[in-house]
Amino acid sequence: MPEIYTTNGFLSDTAPEAVSLADFLAAPGNISAVVLEPDSRLEALEPYLGQLAVISVRFPKYADGRGYSLAARLRMHYHYQGRLRAVGDVLTDQIQHFFRQGFDELEVTNPPTLARLKSGTAPPYDLFMQADVLGKETTPARGNAYSWRRSA
């Protein structure tokens, strides 16, 4: 069973069984977890967002950044309130991007990344040049507090 990394550290996976977007749309029933691909379109999913507890977004290659924009749309356009999970080939320096972009949890498979996370290294940045998607970050106390700047 994969380990799930959250802002509170590693947790065991408690997510319900997930299905692909196509399978879900064919028979949504009571299914509460779905897996999106980088090229998934969100429009058809909109009516069912309330019944979903977990949406996973796959990152088959670390260099494919589409999932970050899917996360932004789910959170900001559709106001999705459930858990948002990133799954796939993830490098250490992307971890912070995921949490800032509205993900709550990561299913990490990349061995060096796993090792790094387990060693408990602090995230590299506590100052940012953009607002985070969930609005958890605050106005920075250091330097000028321009509208685009945030602090962890």
């Binding site: 924009s69 932004a72 800032r100 590299p124 100052l127 040049m129 920075p140 250091r142 509208s147 685009w148």
Partner: protein, 556 residues
Amino acid sequence: MYRYDEFDHAFVGARVAEFSDQVKRRVSGELTEDQFKPLRLMNGVYLQLHAYMLRIAIPYGTLSAKQMRRLAHIARVYDRGYGHFTTRQNIQFNWPALSDTPAILQELAEVEMHAIQTSGNCIRNVTADHFAGATVDEIADPRPYAEILRQWSSIHPEFSYLPRKFKIAVTASEADRAAIQVHDIGLKLVRNAQGEIGFEYYVGGGQGRTPMVAKLVSPFVAERDLLSFTTAVMRVYNLYGRRDNKYKARVKILVHELGPEKFREEVEAEWAVIRDSELVLPAKDVAAIQAYFAPPVLRDRPDGLIALADAFKHDAAFKAWVRQNCNEHTHPDYAIVTISLKAIGAIPGDASDVQMDVVADLAERYGHDEIRVSHEQNLVLPHVAKADLPTLYATLVEHELATSNAGLISDIIACPGLDYCALATARSIPIAQAIALRFADLEHQRDIGELKLKISGCINACGHHHVGHIGILGIEKRGEEHYQVSLGGAADNDTAVGEIVGPGFSAEELPGKIEVIVNTYLAGRVSHGERFIDYTRRVGLAPYKIALYGAEEVAH
């Protein structure tokens, strides 16, 4: 100019610490080259033919004397005594050791510089008009907006893994000196009927394998909407840009394949949701950034006119330099000075550590501590009193920095080519040198008039050959270097992609063929006022083809 506050210092410091750690992990073997490569690229470190290359960002090409001196120091201590200024207003060093890069980045951070996002599939250094803040024809200084975009795009969590690299350029002048229409996003400051500042917003220009002129996506994006509209463009590109083929992954291909109308619809739909979000740009923040770019206090120097008239009488070379390399300043007693990095036979865009130090000294003494890097690979002192030009010129002459060729045929843009670059298919620098030497006579160059010659050593077009009045592309043909010539390209307000004139030439043939092209123009122009590009637009390629290949060849 912009100064780091406590936030910027901490931000860049965190990046230096992060990269130093990554280098340590790579050298210890914890990271493989495959894992390390994307990380080093995001810090501007490439592996080229002979060694690593470090590309350092010079945001919108603006530098202080102190920063230029630090670049000279890096050239001297960590490299081989020179650096290469690029068409993206950056500087590249060709020989740094990987193990020295953390120290170099630390030295840069001390003078408020970095190498963040000078490579990788992210938003690159934002460029701007190199005459910004000094030129008479702009509606406002474009650099505060470039600075806001620079900050907002730094380590952006959503836009660090785009389909391909992404370049933004900003201008505020009628005469576009920033080549905005060959950028992924090109912004031109404009005022609406109410006098408010906004942007003509172009998307989808670019060079490379498939050159395209950008499309106007909005005639007026208000200042308050700069970040929200840009986010909408970036999000649409990030989601729908092609990732199956790196040659089709730039936003120009998305705009082309969707069509400008459909692309605009997608952007507008995205923008409708986010335009009133926290991405709204408050006027007070714009004003705060603008304050950094307040023009220097220029005291009147009416002595300049007499000083110049005097010097002109006995120094024809100085007079020619003033005519060619100095531009009109908003203050009538001052001039914008272009320092040519194209001495005849020199390496375009290269400067030695000594030259960098000299320019820093001159900027401090005569130029209100400001230096610009132009996308044409020259340096600019934007605020020099005319009265100081004779002394300034004398120092430039001593250091081979006073060639009076700004905008002339020997003011060549050239990429590093196969002498350094791992991607190149042919050499560029020796070609540039040979052509400049062929046209060494400056009087002849002045007679030819404005002529933009640009050379790329491969199809990626870093040397902007597509938009050269004369463009040269080096390719490999049966194991030999071979050069294709295109004519009629332009990167200004009338941006156009040049057309290939015919079969290419060997390196030995090329300078002679360029001379044939220039002579064809000289023989055909109606007057000295008809520039090479005007003539070429008027008559097309036919006279050139006949001159190069013979009437019979052309008829077949």
